[in-house]
């Protein structure tokens, strides 16, 4: 019995939900960023699974995945720099305490 597309879609869907749960429930900004990374990886895994099972003879989906990984790396670098800047300001990375813009 070989692997089907549905198995990979289920896996990436569950991984996305796990990442979303982490980003929504944890209060440490670094772990929120880690949850976002998990969601990003689940999305890219979805893309690669569709490439493997549906468009194996063309290379374009793979290019999309490579560019998405590069953009995600840039995003996480800027995000962590923001976390460090916020830590200098508040002496904390608790997302509950970042309420300077709260109305």
């Amino acid at each position: 019995m070989s692997i089907t597309l549905g198995q990979y879609l289920m896996l990436s869907g569950v991984l996305f939900a796990v990442g979303l749960c982490g980003a929504l429930t944890r209060r440490n900004a670094i772990i929120v960023l880690m949850g976002i990374e998990i969601m990003f990886n689940a999305g890219i895994l979805n893309l690669v699974a569709f490439w493997h099972f549906k468009h194996f003879t063309t290379i374009t989906p793979l290019m999309f995945a490579i560019f998405a990984i590069a953009v995600a790396a840039a995003e996480s670098a800027v995000g962590l720099a923001l976390v460090i800047a916020i830590y200098r300001q508040y002496k904390s990375v608790d997302v509950q305490e970042m309420r300077a813009l709260k109305g």
């Binding site: 749960c21 793979l62 995945a65």
Partner: protein, 168 residues
């Protein structure tokens, strides 16, 4: 093939679950590395060899180390979060939202006709083919990506150095 998929799926899922649920931040990052390794294994299983290597190099080699550095620089928060944030209102709201997303994905996939597809032809994803495509058809996006990475690098340095500049 199917056994390899299930082993990798369990590793990946376990890494993700531990990464968001452990109390110690450094243990979280180690679990995140396990998760990235599982995703890289899935890429290898899907015959995207180059993407698997890129995943290991960028995510484990760069992103995980970057997160570790961020934890080091915000040192006095490496301790555990208090018990009050577990099982509070926000915790339940986040958990229920994530569960609803999972259920929505599950229901969509159960009725999708595409879910039973197996493989579809010969591999084209060799490193040679990717390199040729990147430097011919995709050369403009590649250069734009280089500009974006440079901008992100400079931006990250500027944001992280803000305090030092103000002090002078």
């Amino acid at each position: 093939m199917n056994a390899a998929f299930w082993i990798l799926a369990v590793i990946t899922l376990m890494g993700a679950l531990l990464a968001i649920s452990l109390r110690n931040l450094v243990h979280c990052v180690l679990s995140l590395i396990l998760f990235f390794l599982g995703v890289a294994g899935n890429y290898f299983l899907l015959r995207a060899d180059f993407l698997g290597a890129v995943q290991i190099l960028i995510y484990i080699g760069a992103v995980a180390v970057l997160i570790l550095f961020a934890i080091m620089l915000t040192r006095n928060v490496t301790g555990t979060e208090g018990p009050r944030d577990m099982f509070g209102l926000g915790w339940w709201a986040g958990l229920i939202t994530a569960a609803l997303v999972a259920v929505a994905v599950w229901i969509t996939l159960r009725s999708a006709p595409e879910a039973g597809v197996t493989s579809a032809g010969q591999a084209v994803g060799s490193v040679e083919a990717i390199g040729r495509e990147l430097l011919t058809q995709w050369v403009v996006p590649l250069e734009v990506l280089g500009v974006l990475l440079t901008a992100a690098l400079i931006g990250a340095v500027v944001i992280a150095l803000e305090e030092v500049r103000r002090r002078r």
